[in-house]
Structure formats: structure tokens, C-alpha cells
Symmetry: C3
Subunit: 392 residues, 3 copies
């Protein structure tokens, strides 16, 4: 197989392809890469990149911060049924709305990236200029990156058969954060795995904070009563008293409940000698699941978001590796968790999303989680911890 590379968008070069199609592979294992643009409705103008490796197909949204809209592996759909039923163009998402949670007006992806200058709950932060003069800065839910369009988008194939899409996004502003994201999704023909490599670079001449959280969201069919999270957790901390009330069932998902109010748990995960960790969310019968396999050093924090409301309102669970916890940034900074980048420096994360379509694959992944934990037991902390959990 040959290398190929096609620039789909490059605003400097005045390149933007309205549509693109590439296909290849063996007759019994064809693959394809397609680009199209949503026309009409609230998503008008959103570019979509579909990569189908013959087994796994994914839809990436360069216009929505290189989010992963949805995926499918054989007959297993990955994603969720958000009340926001279609992708929404960033120009229609007013992030400051409704007290800083306008981000939710566009939230429906399998993977919505949160960051780059901040993620987590909205609130007010205090940011100092070079002379140490602090200004109040309102911070909105989950930051800007999910609503920033990529200015450069490329797709290609490598000689080893790898299929990929790469997008670049600036989250920059005079007197504000100057961060750059280069995000690549890649997969091999016939594989049940899609690999994400994100590189965040500080474009500024000054040291910069950043935060990123990979909001991975699973609904039906994997999620259902009795579905389970399997994770190599040394400790599980409830975010608030409401989560603490049910900590003994933190890893089991309930039936849809119209009166359910979201519960979050912070997990401290074990990794192997190569810095890899693995979490699995599988269905009640252990028939199918989704695994996230990733290097833990750049993503030391992990949040489980349980939101088993009525199906109509967004029955969903979030499994969320991150640089720090999705608390207000000021709280995370006070607790020493907000990472920084020197001028020009970069940070890299690698996450594999693996569709588990057979009981054997589920079992094998669960066994690997258990071996990561070894003889360490999972300690359930009974109450929110003051250094991890801001008062409600």
C-alpha cells in the first residue's frame, strides 16, 4: 500500500475541499475515507470526516474541535442519544449562556474534548498579568476547544496501511491563552481500534497553564441496567455527598430514571510498567463493551460521570481521562493540579478507543484491568475529600 496525503482544509493555502473520497483495501476488507459537509439546519457548514476501516467506522468533526461524533464497529454503535440530536455549528453555541453552561447546547459527541485553557465547571477565575495585577475572568463550562473549527485538516494513508485524519486548531487571543492543538485519529484496516494522538503546544512567549479532559460518552446499547465500569482504581472518591450516598454501586449503572441527578466519581488508576492503563465499560451481560487504553502520565486524573436519566433526556455515562479534575480551574490550581507548558513546549496524549464486540474480547480486557490492579484493592472513599471536591 502506498503513502498518500490530501489536504482538505488549509486556510493559508486557500484550500478547502467540499467533498473527498478515497477507497482501497482488499476485496474482503475494503476501507474508505470520506469528507462531506452538513448543509441546512443547526449544523450547516460543519465538515465531517468519515473513516471506515472495513470493521470500525468513525465520524470526526474538524469544525467542532476535532471531536469524535460517533463510531460503529460491525453492528455495535458507540455514542449516545443526546437531547441535542445533531451536530451544532460552533457559531450557534453561545458558551456564556444560561450562566456559563451554553456549551451543553452543542453536546452530543461520543468524544467531546474539553479545554484547552480550562475545562470543568463554570465559575470565576483570577488571572494575573505580567505585572501581577489580577483580573476576574469568567470561565465557561468545558472551555472553548469543542467549538473551535480546525484551520488545517489532512487525511492520509501510510505504507503500513494506517488510515488517518489530522486537524490543527488555535485557541488563541491577544492577552489570553495561546494554545495549539494538533489532533490525529488513526486506525488500521480491519481493526477494532481507533488511536487518538493529541499534541498541545504553548504558542506564547510566557509559561501557560492548560487543562484537557476527554469526555467520552456512552449510551445505548452498551449502557443499560447492570452495565459496569471496570477500572484499575486504587481509590474512588465521590465528588459530593449525593455521589457518596451510592458509592458502593459506583461501578454499576442503573435503569433510566427520570428523577436521577448526575453522580461523579474521581478514580485514581493504576498503570503498568509502560505507563499504560485501561478502563472498560461493558454491557450487563459482558457481551460487548468499549475500552479506553492510554498512557496515564499525561492524564493522571479520571472521572466517571453517571447520568442515567430517562432515555429521552440523555441516558449516558462518561468515562473521562484528564490532566486534572473537572472542578473550577481556580480550585484545581489551588490544589496544584493545573499543568503548565513552557514557551513553545508541547504535551502529548495517546488514547486508544477499542470496540469490544464479543464476550471473549470483553473478558480479555477485564482480565487485563485486573492484572493492572494486581493485589491492590480498590478503596471506596466514603466522603468527598476537600482537596479533590469543592463544596457544592
Amino acid at each position: 500500500m502506498n503513502d498518500s496525503r490530501t489536504v482538505l482544509t488549509d486556510t493559508e493555502q486557500r484550500i478547502w475541499l467540499e467533498a473527498f473520497h478515497l477507497e482501497g483495501g482488499e476485496p474482503d476488507e475494503p476501507w474508505s475515507i470520506d469528507k462531506w459537509t452538513i448543509r441546512g439546519g443547526p449544523g450547516d457548514g460543519i465538515d465531517v470526516i468519515d473513516i471506515d476501516n472495513g470493521c470500525l467506522s468513525v465520524s470526526v468533526l474538524p469544525t467542532r474541535g476535532m471531536g469524535l461524533w460517533k463510531a460503529r464497529c460491525d453492528d455495535l454503535s458507540l455514542g449516545w442519544d443526546s437531547p441535542v440530536r445533531r451536530p451544532v455549528h460552533p457559531s450557534l453555541v453561545q458558551t456564556a449562556d444560561a450562566g456559563g453552561i451554553g456549551w451543553l447546547g452543542g453536546f452530543n459527541e461520543l468524544l467531546a474534548r474539553c479545554g484547552l485553557a480550562s475545562h470543568g465547571a463554570p465559575g470565576v477565575d483570577h488571572v494575573s498579568d505580567a505585572k501581577g495585577v489580577a483580573t476576574e475572568v469568567p470561565v465557561t463550562l468545558h472551555g472553548r476547544i469543542a467549538n473551535l473549527p480546525a484551520h488545517k485538516v489532512e487525511v492520509g494513508t501510510d505504507s503500513d496501511g494506517r488510515l488517518w485524519v489530522r486537524g490543527e486548531i488555535d485557541e488563541t487571543m491577544l492577552f489570553g491563552p495561546c494554545l495549539h492543538l494538533a489532533s490525529t485519529f488513526a486506525t488500521h484496516p480491519g481493526s477494532n481500534r481507533i488511536s487518538l494522538h493529541d499534541r498541545i503546544t504553548n504558542l506564547s512567549g510566557r509559561e501557560a497553564e492548560f487543562e484537557v479532559l476527554y469526555h467520552t460518552n456512552i449510551g445505548r446499547p452498551l449502557l443499560g441496567p447492570g452495565a459496569r465500569l471496570v477500572a484499575p482504581a486504587r481509590r474512588v472518591i465521590p465528588r459530593n455527598q449525593h455521589a457518596a450516598d451510592d458509592i458502593r454501586q459506583f461501578d454499576v449503572f442503573a435503569s433510566p430514571d427520570v428523577d436521577y441527578v448526575e453522580q461523579c466519581y474521581f478514580l485514581e488508576l493504576q498503570s503498568d510498567d509502560a505507563d499504560r492503563t485501561l478502563v472498560v465499560l461493558h454491557d450487563a451481560g459482558g457481551q460487548r463493551g468499549l475500552a479506553l487504553e492510554y498512557a496515564i502520565h499525561p492524564l493522571p486524573c479520571f472521572t466517571l460521570w453517571k447520568n442515567t436519566m430517562a432515555d429521552a433526556d440523555g441516558y449516558v455515562a462518561g468515562i473521562e481521562p484528564s490532566t486534572d479534575y473537572p472542578n473550577p480551574r481556580e480550585f484545581e490550581r489551588a490544589n496544584g493540579r493545573v499543568p503548565t507548558l513552557a514557551p513553545g513546549a508541547s504535551w502529548d496524549a495517546h488514547i486508544d478507543f477499542v470496540a469490544l464486540t464479543t464476550p471473549e474480547e470483553v473478558n480479555e480486557s477485564v482480565a487485563r484491568v485486573k492484572s493492572l490492579l494486581g493485589e491492590t484493592s480498590t478503596r471506596l472513599v466514603e466522603m468527598p475529600l476537600p482537596n479533590l471536591c469543592p463544596a457544592d
Copy 2:
């Protein structure tokens, strides 16, 4: 005549027609349906559906919440000259701006629908979650629906000759309102009447509040000094003291006045045995007018908005049927007027807009209003009422 149906927009099916034209009818009574898209300027990307029944022509804006931009019947223009002279794309309307009145930056339609989660004055509301925990929610002027694009748009003709356009819009958000609007405008060849049928459905698994107001706006040529509102009102209540000052002239419109400050009156309307009511706004000579004829049960409230400022600033009157009054939602809830929908339940409204182009048509409509009132007299309330009118 045959049935026909064309999908112009369907984001799920990847359908979006850049342009569409259909025509038919008898040689002396041709009709047409056209679809085009505004290109360039602040309206870039707005889809427009023009329906011309040979007598009455209307322009509907699916991209702006299925608003009715303007209409014309023979040589009678219906609509007004807003300082906002052209349709504005929702992506350029920042509803939270200027203290929550950014909606006005896009306000220029003959019919701007207000709602669906809220309408009326901006303010702060308190909304409780399933556990009864209340959150402060900023509410902006007249809600979101007028700035939400339809994700599905169809046009068609029925075997009885009816011409129609139908649009569907979701006003949804995780942890927020999940309401769906299906809106149909229909007319018959040669008719002076356009019929609106709106159905609002609660998509949520929980009971939901909603509010809707049909902000119907009339300027020149119907509006002018001596123009008059004729309505079967049992009671007329001034919204504030400034309106109370002129209550004896509530139904007569003044000349443009640069120093005019808007006055609003709440009208309690009489209906017939079939639940129908009728209001007429006609010009000074009773030569021409616009009638609204509608079922009152779903729309028990009616607001007259007098805004006879200078022509340049928007000389206009609003005649506004609604579910409840355009006060802050918290006030309306406290007074028991905010309607609710059970999970999956729907609400339907039907409003006919009738262009009256002769004195005979005006007289006939005025006579029908009088027969609706019968022997009931219209009582002018001298002061704002505390259950209808929040303190300024």
C-alpha cells in the same frame, strides 16, 4: 390537482436543496413555491421559502425559527420597517447581549415566534432539578426559538389545492428544555388567508413548562394615525402606569412620535362556542386591515404592544396571542399561568392571518368581533393589576 411533497432540508438524510421552484394553478390564478438562500451580508445562509397563492404571498424563514418574514396581498404589504432592515442569521444574534435583549438585533419579522422554554422580558429564573435543588438561570428576551434553524423543511401541495411549508425545530439541551416545534403554514390558491398550525411536543421524560407568544407586527401602510385595534375584549389591563395614563385611547394608534415610549395592554378576549376569537387591526379609514382568527383555548392571553415611535426607529404595533403574558417567567409561574406538558405530550395552536384588502372585508370582520362580544362591554381597568403586571 395532485398531492406533492418535497423535502428541502433533512439533515439526517443529508438533504438540502439550494434552490427549488414549483408552480401550478389556472392561467388566471397561478401559484408558486420557491426556495432560495440569502447570500452575503448579515443574513448569509438564511433559507427563505416563498409561497405565492396568486393573491397572497408570504416569505417564511426556516433558518430563523420558522418566522414569517413578510407578506403581501395584492398591493397591501404586511410587516413593518424595523431598524434591522434585513433578516439576520441566528449565528450573529447574541441573545445575552445588552443585558439580555440581544434578540432585538434580529427582530424584523411580521411574525416572530417567542418561546419555547420562555418568552417575555429578560430576567433571572430559579429552576429546580429532580432533587429539588434550585439553580439561578438567566432568561433572555423572548427565548431561543426565533434563532434556531429548522433541521427538517418540507413543502407540498394537497389534492384540495392547499399549498404548505412545514418545518421542525428542536429547542433542546442536556439538563435543559427538550421541546420540539412542528410548524406548518398553509394557504389555498386565490385566498387572502394563511393558516399557521404549530405543534409543540415535550421530548423529555419529565413534565416540562413551555411558553409561546406570536409576536405579530404591523407597520405602514396599515398602521398610521387613527388606525385601530378591534378586539372582543372583556377587560383591558395596562401593563404599567405609563400605559394606564392612556388607557382610554388604548385601541387607537397615534402618529409617529420620536419621544414615544412603548405601551402594552393585556386583553381578555371573548370567543365563540367553537372556541374561536378574532382581532382586527385596520387603517384609519377602515379601508384595509389584518385579522387574526384563532382558537383561544391554547392561547388564552393577548397583548397589544403600541410602539408608535418615529418611522425611522420602528413605527409598529404588535398584536400578540400567547400562552401567558410576556412577563418574566418566574412572575408568570407564581401567578399560575405557565403551561406544562407531560412527557411526550403535545400542544397545538392554529392561527389564521387574514389580509383584509377592501372596506367590505374590514367591516365584515369588525362586525364579527362585535358579535363575539355581544352584550358584554369592554371594561378598561384603570391601573396595573398585581397578578398580571410585575412592578416596573
Copy 3:
């Protein structure tokens, strides 16, 4: 040479040309006018007009308020390297963000026009209605005009060879400002000069305030350590104590400094008998520069903005003629500087931007500045003045 005129955009006439090219001139001095549209990325949908007179080329952005994106004269680039590296569509600029400074998310032009209802620092103003009832109005940084698309755009050539582009923009809203901008950029083949003529008209029936500031931004190569502003200033006033600390070097620019915090100076400029004034920003060696030559009566105020931060963060200087100072509008009004327009009245400004590409041209301009000043000396005020400088 013949007159010509082409309408590129006219939303009333349903005209919008996706692309346009016109060329002419002598073989040794060809000129061209091009129109294209940015596709993809955060600038998707921005119309660009390029005028190349054979010597000087400029790019005008009708979609971003008729801003002047960048210019080039022979091998001299005019503009700056903002951290915002590409034009951003107004629909992605949320001006109220980050405490009212969201405007900076789209700020990267050589000339960004600030206004029309307000410019300067964000804050709260109090605006009275016709009855004298005051309302709190949040005002965002530098107003709306830079993020409003032109609804009418024309290009043309005159019989004397002049090449021009003209755009019209409404900044209007019911119950708000109703101002109209007609902006023309014009140049002659082979010239090093581009002339801007702006006309602002009050569309309202009431007297209206307005404010406008021409935020002209210069980075490399003109800006560098030792670069200098030469201006016929009678007085120079530091905006705050931080600027006062360095007032003796107000006219010299420093090397990039990651810890630099912006300094602003207000200059009171001398003009000639024909009401013309001239300011020059030239490089350290006096080899090349940019001159602004303009009628001072409509633009009595001038701000020098020094922002010599690290190159990566936006190493830039602003030279900014304006109607009044970029302080909060309420402060400017209290000090009698906010101009007003009677109903229907207009205000005109003319500014020439002159690229100086040789030491001779620089010297000649500097000499003209000196002759404007004559025997008047430049007085450096040591402290912020209470009527010009609000307390920090």
C-alpha cells in the same frame, strides 16, 4: 480609462458574487481587483476584496466591518502577527465573553474599526429612554462594528484611474443605536497611498451619540527596538501611572519583552491650516515607515498603544485617531467628548495610509510633522489627568 462599477453584494437585490476579477493598467503598471471568500476554518464565509494597484496591495474584509486586514507595498508588509493568526468570522466572536473582551478573539487586522455606538474599554453605561428613564447597558470592548458584515459591497474604477471598494453596514437595533456606515477605500495605480473615507449616518429619528476609533496596528518589520512614533503633539498624557513611569520614552519602541504590560498615551495633535495632521511610525533606522495623514476636526483624539510583548504574544503598536478617547463611554460623556448626530445627519472622516518605503520618504514625512509643530514644543504630562484618564 473607463469608469466601471460592479456590485459584489446587495442582499436586497439578491446579488452576491462568489468570485470576481478585474484587471487593467499599463504593461509596466498592472492593477487588479479580486474578490474571494475564505472557506474552511474559523474564517469560513468571510469575503475578501484584494486591490493591487501595482505598487500597493490591500485586503479589505467586508464581512468583518470593512476592516483592512493587511497591506503590502513592494516588499514592505504592513500589519502585525496577532496570536489570532487568521480572520475570524463574526459569528464566532462572542463579544461579551471573558468579561466583555471577547472582541479580542477576532482581533488581527492592520486596521480594525472600533465603534459605532461605542468603543474603548468594556463597562456599564446608563442610557435614558425618551421619558428620561435610565437603563444599565453593558458595553463590550470596542463595540460591534468590526463584527458586522456589510450588506452592500461594490468595487469600481474611476475615469482618473482610481480603484475603489465601498461597503455599507447597519449597526441597528430596535430600542438601540441606528447608525449606518458607508466606507470606501480607494487608491491610484502605482501609488503608495490608500485613502479611507468613512461616512457615519444617524438613521434614527432621535439625536444619537456615536464613537469611532481607527485601531491601526503595526508589528514587524516596521516595529522593532528603536522604532519611533513621530507626531505633532502639543501634549502627551499617560493613561495611567504605569504609562507615566515611561513617558520620557513614549515615542520609542522597545524590544519584545514577555513581561511587558501595555502602555497607552493620549496625544493632542497639531494640524495645518487645511485641518490636516500627520503621524509617522518608522523603523529604527528611519528606512521605512507608515504615515497616517488625516483631517483632524472629525478625529480630534489620538491614542498611542504600546504593546511590545513577546513576538509570539503580539508584538504590536497601535496608532489610533478617534472621535474621543477609548475610555468607558460613560466617562467620555461625562467629560463632554462623545459626539452626537442629529436625525439623518452624517459625519465624515478621511484618513490616508501611506507606505513609506525609502529613507527619503520617511525623512520627508518627518519634516512635515516638524513643520506642523513649528515652534510649539511637545509637553510631556507627568501624570494621568483626571478628565482624560479614568482611575484604574
